[in-house]
Symmetry: C2
Subunit: 215 residues, 2 copies
Amino acid sequence: MSIELQRVAPAEIEARSMEIITEELGRELDPELAPVIKRVIHTSADFDYADNLVFSPGAVKRGVEAMKNGCTIVTDTQMALAGINKRVLGKFGGEVMNFVADPDVAEEAKRRGVTRATVSMERAAALGRPLVFAVGNSPTALVAIRDLLEAGTLEQPALIIGVPVGFVNVVESKELILELENIPYIVARGRKGGSNVAAAICNALLYLASGDARE
Amino acid sequence: MSIELQRVAPAEIEARSMEIITEELGRELDPELAPVIKRVIHTSADFDYADNLVFSPGAVKRGVEAMKNGCTIVTDTQMALAGINKRVLGKFGGEVMNFVADPDVAEEAKRRGVTRATVSMERAAALGRPLVFAVGNSPTALVAIRDLLEAGTLEQPALIIGVPVGFVNVVESKELILELENIPYIVARGRKGGSNVAAAICNALLYLASGDARE
């Protein structure tokens, strides 16, 4: 078998990928949502996300505004943190935090019989400022966010990106977020998601915020 | 709508997830490959990987041996690096390296009109020792590995994990690896893959190496 590689310059690969995604989608997406949906498909090669992603009204606009205002993004994994474009985020004065790997978070979680993600979201809430949550792994992080909102101990988030992946309570935790009123969210309905998806959504918002030519 | 969360203790979530995956697969996997395939499905909630993953003969055994011997893993993204369990890797004296974010790699790539992934793989080859490559992003990384092997400037790798994701040259780059003879590989055929998949495969091998109860 002879394998032929396409000649595409490094700087052109992403644009060509986005063209292929647009062609294969075979239908028009809502132009406000398209850059987010396409970037998630770009990061996963999984067209299911064209149907899975659910946006609260104005979620993309609110997310872009948050990025422009130099928001704090809180992730539930080191992988999501690693995947977020910190150069662009830093340009706006934003930062990204993750508490899951802190030794005292692990200790407290063990003592209380809860997940590290739960304790991490409590730590984030204690920051006392509007946050973008980027949850790509732990359904318990989404449950904790809902509980903290109900208890009144979490300030209104700028955006909840709820895209944990998996088989136990993942579907249910996302439905909890979809029930919230007046809170902007982007949720991947069903089992699919991941730290890569969470990072891709943050990056799509960052590129929109910076007027980057990338879709 | 009333959403009911299952009561599963934090420590039980992964085991329960693996049970669900086993049930839903509905067929027996090769027992040597099952822990790797199931961990990739666990990280993606995508059962396509039960069919996509291609293993050279003995690849899992060779990968586990490499982990036990304290190998150096080379990734092509910071995300894959972040996702690999460095506690278990460190227990064996292993380490994980990534050259993509180095400023002089970016500079050299730009000057030569190649990708940063290509230059990164050349840097890795220059280490002059057997490596586990964990490629979850860049098809050009796989092309570079093939070219370096043909040129005789790369030592026989312990294992090539070839799971880049995407739309331009991704399918082709993986076919190049599948053509290699006498080199252990684990490849996700087709467009799918990702840094999360690359990390999940490394972790599956690490848990097998450490006799971890996790599948």
